[in-house]
Symmetry: C2
Subunit: 191 residues, 2 copies
DNA sequence: GAAGTTTTAGACAGATCTGTCTGATATGCT
DNA sequence: AGCATATCAGACAGATCTGTCTAAAACTTC
């Protein structure tokens, strides 16, 4: 047999990532999780302070994953406009991956109370992406970087929402196309 | 005192509309509902077959509301392009209303199973809106009506998502602006 | 091999939530 | 008045879910 018996903590994280995303953090209970992970209930509470803690860890993992994916697509690009468009390429990969079921942060916090770990994770990722877009728009020398960034954000959100709800992966392509148009048409200060 | 003591069914619908939207269909339990409505628990099950039935009724009401709002903004307009843009005006009103907390259908079905009343309600509204947009794009004589409609849908979804998650009501204005650009730039068959 | 850490299986407590049931009471119609 | 419908208050059942606890076993590390 394989010698790769991962520690309980890791198996729980794997099970959480799979089940929480596929079925929802509220829907999946502790019993389902430990069964999927193949660990005892006690191990969950030994490694995590509770379900919320595991949910937070799951969302942190997704957050890190997304940032890394975007960074990977931006690697080697110098032009900030190219970097902005690369964000849509990263999204294309995200929504094309098997089992795509929409933004994990939005799903988890859809009916969560403000201040919950779910709501905080959503906010953290959104703020990071918004700031990243804004910085690139400033770097690109747009006269109104905030306005350009906001429009890109709108297209990004639309693509996420649309690709999920209508199961249309092409949505990201349309969004990128419109984003390119916005970037092309927006006035830039002469350098 | 006022003689306007509404029947239990109506008071339950009012309470459901308020609480389900504000706090989520999963978060709000039966006890909260009957307390808010000021009815006995028995009355809930006398008028509805169960919580799901009440959820369905709540979502049906929201669906009707949205369609009526769109119809109201389209009233008197002849040009299909104007009617398409009027959809964004209706959305502007929607997201500007106090207590806006995002699309009720998306919220309710965020973690719902496929086939649930929540998922069905979401699908019903989405299909209706997509078809309405497509019909108007055809009527307007676009060479590729489906592509134009899909792009408008993307902008609509982006505006909904963005206005909620970032609390930016201006998002709808940007979406309408981009929609106008799409409608203006898309090729139309000569009539 | 001894000591400390990690994991196991599962019973159990405590909270919560949907839905049922009862029996009395109110309301509206004829 | 009389009868069907609608509503009331609340106890109760049954399911589910998070988290605790226990006592033994396995694994690590020195």
């Amino acid at each position: 047999m394989a010698s790769t018996k991962l520690p309980a903590r890791q198996r729980l994280l794997d099970a959480a990532d799979k089940l929480f995303y596929a079925e929802g953090v509220h829907t999946v209970g502790i019993d389902r999780l430990i069964e999927e992970a193949g660990v005892a209930k006690g191990s969950l509470f030994y490694n995590f302070s509770g379900k919320d803690d595991l949910v937070a860890a799951y969302l942190e993992g997704r957050d890190r994953q997304r940032r890394e994916r975007i960074a990977r697509f931006q690697q080697g690009l110098g032009d900030p406009v190219d970097k902005l468009l690369a964000i849509f390429d990263a999204l294309q990969e995200t929504v094309s991956s098997p089992g795509w079921r929409g933004c994990p942060f939005a799903n988890a916090s859809a009916e969560a109370l403000p201040g919950s770990v779910e709501a905080e994770a959503l906010r953290a990722f959104r703020d990071w992406l918004s700031n990243a877009m804004l910085s690139l728009c400033e770097e690109a020398g747009f006269v109104e970087p905030a306005g350009v960034a906001a429009r890109l954000r709108l297209l990004y959100d639309g693509a996420v929402s649309n690709s999920n709800l209508d199961a249309q992966p092409e949505a990201v392509g349309w969004a990128k196309e419109l984003a390119a148009k916005v970037l092309h048409d927006s006035p830039r200060a002469s350098e």
